[in-house]
Structure formats: C-alpha cells, structure tokens
Amino acid sequence: MNSVSMPASRLWAAYFGEMRFEFVKSLRTPAFAVPTLFFPIMFYLLFGIFLGSMRGNSGMSQYTFATYGVFGAMGPGLFGFGVSLAIEREQGLLLLKQALPQPPGAYLMARAAMAMLFVAIISLMLTLMAVLIGGVPLSISQGTRLFFIDVLGALPFCAIGMFLGSLVSGSASPAIVNLIFLPMAFLSGLWLPLQFMPKFLADIAPIWPAYHLAQMALGTVGAPSAGTTASHVAVLASVTLVFFLLAMRRMHGSGFRLLGARPKRTLAIAAGVTAVVLGLSLSGVIGGKPASKEDAPAATDAASAAADTPVSVAPAGVAAPATPVLANFDEGSEAAAYGVGWTAVGDETRGGNSKATQRLVGGGVAGSKGALEVTGEVGEAIQYPFAGTMFFPVGPPMQGLMDYSGKKALTFQARGDGRRYMLMVISGVQMDAIPLMVDFEAGADWHEVRLDLAKLGAADFKRVRAIGIGTMGPTGPFRFEIDDVRLE
C-alpha cells in the first residue's frame, strides 16, 4: 500500500492555519471578544484612568495599571477554553476534528496561542493608555516585563478553562466561567487593593492564581507587592500543570485524544518547546528578579535607571556580626564597626546635582565624644534626588550582601535643621530593586529613631546592600547629625 507522507512544510502550515482560524473565529464571536477584549480596556479607562485621575493618587495609577493587565490575562484563556471547549465538545466538532487528520495537539495549541495573542493585544492597549493618557511612569524594561508576565500568565487560566470546559455543559459554561472569573479577579485584589478588603479575604488571597500573577505584575511596575518571583512562578506553573492534567484525564475518559495517538510524545515535544520558550523569557526578561518589596510606590526611576542584571541564584548575605553597634563616631573616625563605613553620597551618578559632605563633630548624644554631621544641598536635576550618607555592611559597596535577618530593630540618634529625612535600606538580589524608605524628622535636639524590622516587611533583610540616611527633597540646603547607630 502506497503511503502518503505529509510534507513538514504543510504540517507547519496546518498548525499555523489552525491558530489563525481560531483567532479570526474568536474575534468574530462577540460573546467571546467583548468580555475578554473590551472589558479590561474599558474598565481600566473608566476606573483606572478617569476615576484614578480624579482621586489624584499616583500610587493607585501603577496599581490599577498592573492589575487590569492581569484581569485582561485571565479572560481569553478562561473563556476560550472554558466556553468554546464545552460547546464544541457537545456539538460534535471536536469529534469530527478527531476523525479528520487534524495534526496532534493542534486544537489545544491554536487555542492557547489565540488566548495569548488576545492577552498581548490587551496588554499593549493598556500600556499605551497607561503611558499616554494615565501618565503612569513606566520604563521600557518594565513595560516589556509586564507584557511577558501577562502573556505567559494566560497559560494557567487556559488550563483552568480547559478543565471547566471538559466538565460542564456548553449552555452552562458561560455562567460557570463568569462565576469563577469575576470573583477571582475581585478576591485577588485586581479591582480593589487587598488592604481595603476584610482581613480574612485578604489572608486567603494567595489561594487564587490571579493573586500570584498580580503580585508579579505589581512588583514589576514598582508598586508594593508580596512574595518572590520564584514562588509565584512555581504556584502558577503548578496550577497550569495540575488543571491541564485533570482536564486531559477527563477528556480522555470521554474518548477525546486531544494530543493525538501518542499523547506522551506530543506532550514531550510541546513541553520541550514550552520549557525553552519559558526558560528564555524567564531568564532574559523577568530574570530572577524577586517581586520588589516596597512600601512606598516612589522612585520608579531607580528601577529603570539601573541596569537589568538578571541573577538566577539568590544566596543570603554574610551573617551579621554579633555586635549591635554599627557606629558611635567616638573613635575619631567616620568608620563603622565593620563594613565599608559611612560615605557621603549625592545623586551625580544618576545624573542629578544633589551633593553631600560629612565630617565628625563633637558633642554626641548623651555627652558622648563625637557624632557625624552631614551637610549639602538637594538639587532639582532629576525626579527623585537624594543626598546623605550611606553605610555598606560588606564590601565592595553595593555588591556585598549582609544577612540581618537575625536582628530585631534598627535605632539611631538624630538631630538637625528640622527637615524631614529618610532612612533607606537597599536590599535584595536585584541591584535595581526599589529600596525601603522610612521618613523621620530631625529637630534641634537629639532624639531616637527606632525601626522594628518585623514591621518593615518590605525589605529583604537577608540581603542588605546598604543603609542610607539622607533626604530626597525638598530642594535646597540641609544639615543633620546622626550618632549611635545600632542594629540589635
């Protein structure tokens, strides 16, 4: 019997044609295109941009931008698989495709590609609106990361949708998908930040996959976020795998071979391709960047100005010495008990014109011998200026990491010209992570500033690069003194 072989070019064309078909079909189906494509865009425009601009709260603009992107990433997968699979399973189309020589896995791949393409469109539209209308500060590298987070983030929802589509009837599926889609979006904090929700709802938020995607997105745009990239990726990958396998089992039980006659081989090839693509995107774009743990959504230029240096391993810093004293400035030196000591810094390296100088002065706190005086001027050349003094626990400055996770509190004495100053902790694997900032007032008399580390969850105290004390403005001259800095 003569055998008919399928040329590879025709096979690729069949896979590609299937994707194009699926995309055109979805675009022409209002019941799919409207809720998935227009709702996130319209809601963002209404609630994120117009309502946000009325509130005039700049922190919220980044929050809504990131979370509506995640909302947009949920819909195409949930509806594309959840509703269409349920309907086509019932209507016999899936069976016909299986009788026809549709290439193995083409049905699933086309649907997943369609969902990701829809998400890509949504993500680009939201980014354009955020930057052009919403005035959300966003660097190209942040925008790119967010795009990939949203597009790859469609996959867990494809898997959940596929599971639903394998389970429910075609007529019930839109209702069921909405019952999962909308509450999950709300409970994951996509519309309303979790801190405005009842505590128990905020506490259980990590059970929702959308929550993990949202935390990655928030970390990327420099808004407060929790957890690490690795943990979020692990949760989302597990969700994808578990729901995909459950759905495949269920479909197989009903006689559907979505991956052809040799599902394991098809799956292995698909998994290989996916692993390469995911690996490249994760290492290249998202990197080992932990979601930055930040209290104040400020200083986004710090993230964008610094180079993107993906670090895939994240060892903890050097163990901190037992001594609680960092510096008391009584030995006639600006040096600290360990590390690279205190260094006056301005923002010239970041293109600014703020300057600072420091010197030892007499008359420390409680009659001690010396204190450190820092004087200078805050310039206005860049958006987020800084001038002050910095302590690097491990050399070389900014490179070495110290593990302060065993310490409970950071205290120091301060006095000055009455301006408000800022304590800054630069920590984490990534050089460009946004630092923790806590402000305090330096009045004419010495007083103690005490920070309980347990209450400062937003810094990575296992990996501290620098501790800075200084000012971010307003512009003009400043003067303050510090003494008796302790970590105990």
Partner: protein
C-alpha cells in the same frame, strides 16, 4: 480486479454499560466499492463507524485503516468524513472552513475546484451559521471530499436535502467512485443505497447479518409481493397458510408471501374473476426488515 482492503473491522466487540453495541462484528471495505451499511437504530452502525474512524476503541478485536490503527494519523490522512449532527463554527465562511480542513491533508484538491464541483459559489459570502440546513450539508460534504480522500465516510449525507440537492450530491458521489474513491455510506434511505451501493452490509444487534450486492440481498429474501383486484375479503385470505401478510390498499389486495405460486393457484380457485395481477420481488426495504427480524428471532 484487485480487491485491496482499505479498512477493516474483525471480531470487534464493544460494550457500553449493559448494552453490547458490537458483538463480534466483521467488515472489510474494498478499494473502489461503495459499501452501504444498513441496519435499524441501535444495530451498532455508528459504533462500528466510530471505531473505524478511531473515535472509539474496541473492547476486543481489531480495526485497521490503510494498514494502520485508526488512531494513527497516517491512515486518517487518506479518508474524508461527513458526520451527522456536527455544528461547525457559525461565524466562519465556507471557504475558510474548506481551507482549514484541506490544510490537514498532504495533497488536497484546490479549494476553488471543490467549490465549483459542489456549486457553492452562491454561499461564499455568508457565514456558515446563516446557511440553510441543506446548504450546511453541502458544505459538510465539500469538507469531506476536499482532502482528495481515497476512502470517504458518509453518515446520512442527504438528510435535510431537497430532491434536487440530493440528486446533485449523488451525482458527485458517482463521479468520485468513477475516479476510484471508495465510499462507506450509512443511511436510512434505502433508495439511496439501492441507487448507489455496489454492496450492502446489513447489521442487527451488533452483528453482520449478511453482505452482498443489492440484488443478492434481495434474493436472500424469499418473499414476494402479490397485488391484485379481487372480491375476496382480506380476512379470508389472511387465514390461508400461503399468505404471510395481507393488506387492503384502496381496491387492491396486497399479499406478502413466501409461496407465490401456491398462493396464486389458490387465489384463482377461490376467485375466478381475479384480475390485474402483479408479482414483485421484495425491495431492499422488505429484505432489510425480514433479515433483521430473522436475526431477532434467531437471537
């Protein structure tokens, strides 16, 4: 003429819960033939076809499509399929559907050629969902043939078609056979099988009852139908052992019989005025009913 087997089921058993859908079923489709699979509802026709298409697996026995297991894509690249009760995406246009299905095959027909052959030109502007039931069947038939199949599976292809459309479809089926395409046809329209089939396979209760040409199937059946004008009352005739079944249709007596000659002798004896006599061999419909009833009796 070489009788290559393109598709076969041998000794296939398939059970769904308490129902034994196939109970040791054998079938072989030869190159170049049109095989009609007939049987009452529940006979196992659709289960048999599903197993041949790889949509279900047999509990026992084996299925082959071009020498491959039907689940393997290689065999299915050489078949075309038209199924009953399939809803295709309503928002897509006929040409888009054809292009998609044609893309699955190594050497499909040109899509325009298929459109011309099935006279679909008038339907191209409308999305599939806006077509009438008959037009949808025409598109589905076009999808079944667009891959240049060597073996075509047609499940009730003319349901919902008007007489003209049915004739047009039959014409294309005959052309395809002439070009060497083999066809497996499942149908409820016996006239369709009589008009097209080289060979008929009759199924009942999950088994193959008999197979042969339309004439052979008819000849299996000993019954003949005698029709005449008589003054005898139907109940009188019904009491005769020679008459199996008696009906009065208008003024004519319709008698089903296994012993036509003996019946005629008795009719003339009882009613010398008997007139307008017709004796017919049973059609496929009667043959089919009898064959499947016999199998029921035997079981």
């Amino acid at each position: 003429m070489s009788q290559t087997t393109l598709a076969s089921l041998s000794g296939v058993r398939k059970r769904f819960g308490k129902i034994q859908a196939l109970d040791g079923f054998d079938l072989a489709v030869k190159r170049g033939e049109l095989l009609a699979v007939l049987g009452p509802n529940g006979a196992g026709k659709s289960t048999a076809i599903s197993i041949l298409l790889g949509l279900q697996t047999a509990d026992e026995g084996s299925a082959e499509l071009f020498g491959h297991a039907p689940q393997e894509i290689d065999g299915r690249r050489r078949i075309g399929v038209m199924m009953q009760e399939v809803m295709l995406p309503g928002v897509m246009r006929p040409r888009e559907l054809l292009e998609q299905v044609a893309s699955y095959y190594p050497v499909p027909y040109d899509v325009d050629e298929v459109i011309a052959r099935m006279s679909l030109e008038g339907l191209l502007k409308r999305p599939y969902g806006k077509l009438s039931g008959g037009q949808k069947r025409q598109v589905q038939f076009a999808l079944a043939i667009c891959g240049r199949p060597e073996l075509l599976f047609l499940d009730e292809p003319t349901v919902g078609l008007d007489v003209q459309a049915r004739e047009a479809l039959w014409k294309v089926v005959r052309e395809l056979m002439h070009e060497g395409c083999s066809i497996v046809l499942t149908t409820h329209y016996l006239e369709e099988a009589e008009a097209l089939a080289d060979r008929v396979a009759v199924m009942a209760r999950g088994r193959l009852i008999t197979t042969g040409s339309v004439n052979e199937i008819r000849s299996h059946v000993s019954r003949k139908q005698v029709s005449c004008v008589s003054r005898l009352a139907p109940d009188t005739v019904r009491a005769w052992p020679e008459a199996a079944q008696v009906e009065m249709e208008r003024d004519r007596l319709q008698i089903n019989t296994r012993e036509a000659e003996a019946l005629l002798v008795r009719l003339f004896r009882e009613d010398p005025q008997l007139s307008d006599i017709e004796v017919k061999r049973a059609g496929l419909a009667e043959a089919f009913t009898e064959l499947t009833n016999e199998s029921k009796g035997a079981a």
